[in-house]
């Protein structure tokens, strides 16, 4: 097949059309809009960098960015720790391995919105109930404060995503060469050493993949945020994705929201690329 054949272009046509209309044109238009005072109906004038200057002083936006960053860092560490632990458990010699894999993975099949509602019930009703029964004050009023909202989101995401990350680690763990593991069995004094010096370096590529996935998932989080806390109390658990949505569709500040969206894209792209770059370099060193 050659690129000047008609069939080459016919085969490509539908996806090229879809990608152009759905991603490329909106992206270019979006960058253009971010320099205007567009409100969704009237294009408005060209305002240069005004939107970008404004968002640097926008406390609500900066707060959401900071909250998202904190949430991502904590979640990425926890999810990877739990995910790898679960993978190590189900790949060791146990009888319930297959059943456990199915169980740990299950939350990933159910949408973030629904999972958020389930956990809202648990935090608000079940926690309060148990708190009352056992006289534990700290179980009252979950999701009603910034702090409990933060940890609520972290718990929800860890519970949901750890099983997904587990599946990735399992794929790498099961691909490890058997003779290396057996040699490690002889050379290492205990299980911890075997894990630290042999298994862990060998699964480093899995870490690159899973960190990329957890980072981009937590950074772009919307559904769980909406259904668990809806950004409350007082917008203090509002993440960037939700903040952009509200700026656009509740305040009708379309151009301004779009400027935030462009900044968001740059941050997500930078974080993703830097992360992959650093991890790749580490892999080589090991």
């Amino acid at each position: 097949m050659r690129t000047r054949d008609l069939s080459y272009w016919l085969f490509l046509a539908p996806v090229l059309l879809a990608l152009t209309l759905v991603v490329i044109i909106p992206m270019l238009l979006g960058v253009y809009y971010s320099f205007t005072s567009w409100n969704g109906i009237v294009t408005g004038g060209f305002v240069g960098l005004q939107n970008y200057i404004d968002l640097l002083k926008d406390e609500r936006f900066l707060a959401s960015l900071w909250f998202t960053t904190k949430f991502s860092v904590v979640s990425v560490i926890l999810i990877n720790f739990i995910g790898l632990s679960l993978a190590l458990i189900v790949t060791s010699r146990i009888k319930s391995s297959k059943l456990l894999r199915t169980t740990f993975f299950m939350p990933n099949l159910i949408g973030g919105l629904i999972l958020g509602f389930i956990w809202q019930f648990i935090f608000v009703k079940v926690f309060a109930n148990i708190g009352q029964l056992m006289g534990i004050e700290s179980l009252q009023g979950w999701l009603a404060t910034t702090e409990t909202g933060f940890w609520g989101l972290v718990i929800l995401m860890s519970w949901q995503m750890a099983g997904y990350i587990m599946v990735i680690y399992i794929a790498y763990l099961e691909g490890l060469p058997q003779e290396v593991l057996e040699a490690a069995q002889l050379d290492c004094r205990n299980e911890y050493q075997r894990f630290r010096y042999v298994v862990f370096p060998l699964v480093a590529p899995a870490f690159t993949v899973s960190m990329f996935l957890t980072l981009s998932n937590t950074f772009k989080l919307y559904d769980q945020n909406l259904s668990l806390t809806a950004g409350g109390p007082y917008n203090s658990t509002e993440m960037v994705a939700m903040e952009i949505f509200k700026t656009a569709f509740t305040q009708n500040a379309f151009a301004y929201a779009q400027a935030k969206a462009v900044v968001f894209f740059v941050i997500v792209a930078l974080v993703a690329l830097v992360q992959v770059y650093i991890n790749k370099r580490r892999e080589v060193e090991m």
Partner: protein, 271 residues
């Protein structure tokens, strides 16, 4: 030493497994309680397993209609994604040239763009063409789903020898026939992966349908669930029954296809 059955790990694993299922258990048992019972006690079993919550939630959610809407959107989108991205990946993998490389990189790079960055202009553009409806939504899913699907198909196609294409061409088959009768059947394992990854994502998607589908009666499950919750946050007995209903199709799907699902997800993430 390693060959021995690891009883401590087994116990730890089972305990964690139970912990993992607790949220579903709590949702399930409480969905049978009355409003008053939930208010006083959420941890014990219900006094009577009344299904009144379910019949009411079923009606409020317009469950069969909503389920059919979700199925229609998901099946249509995933079918379209499979047909179009396998063909596109075939073109890109068979015609090695600068154009192919650039196009392939463009598709891969599109994966980096967060939805929020294109969301506002997307709604405006499609609104102008009166395409904020179900066909429009399916077309958008093609645009957003194509990247990863092409990437996966491209990898699989590079492992299929071109001599097959040539042999079939010598026998008189045209491009279309070569692809659909010779190559596509060989792509079955990766098609399963592509299908599963896209099904999970599209079935559960909330944000895009919330922006695109405006007409009552055509809502997908997550969308309907959101409206339902707005009215019922204080009526947890109904809300929980609604959640249980919404989860049921996924559990059935998982029960029948669990190994294919887990394999698909791991293949999709590792490649």
């Amino acid at each position: 030493m390693q060959k021995k059955w690891n009883i401590r790990t087994e116990v730890l694993g089972v305990l964690l497994g139970i912990l993992w299922l607790t949220p579903f258990y709590l949702m399930f048992v409480n969905s049978f309680k009355t409003k008053k019972e939930i208010f006083t006690d959420t941890t014990s079993l219900p006094e009577g397993w009344n299904i009144a919550n379910y019949t009411e939630a079923f009606r409020e959610l317009d469950f069969l209609q909503t389920l059919a809407n979700s199925l229609l959107i998901t099946v249509a989108s995933v079918t379209l994604i499979i047909i179009c991205s396998s063909m596109a990946a075939y073109s890109l993998s068979r015609a090695k040239s600068k154009i192919s490389t650039v196009l392939f990189l463009a598709f891969v790079a599109a994966m980096l763009i967060p939805f929020q960055s294109v969301m506002i202009p997307l709604v405006t553009v499609f609104g102008n063409f009166e395409m904020l409806n179900r066909p429009g939504l399916v077309f958008m899913y093609l645009g957003f789903g194509a990247s990863l699907s092409i990437f996966l198909y491209h990898g699989a196609l590079n492992n299929i020898s071109r001599s097959l294409d040539e042999a079939a061409t010598v026998d008189g088959a045209n491009r279309f026939q070569v692809f659909w009768f010779i190559i596509f059947p060989m792509l079955k394992p990766i098609t399963v992966t592509v299908a599963i990854l896209n099904i999970i994502w599209i079935w559960n998607d909330y944000l895009l349908p919330s922006l695109v589908i405006n007409s009552p009666g055509s809502e997908t499950l997550p969308l309907k669930m959101f409206f339902f919750f707005g009215e019922y946050t204080t009526q947890w007995h109904l809300a929980l029954a609604g959640l249980a209903l919404a989860i049921l199709p996924v559990i059935i799907f998982y029960f029948f296809a669990q190994s294919a699902i887990i394999k698909g997800v791991s293949d999709g993430a590792v490649k």
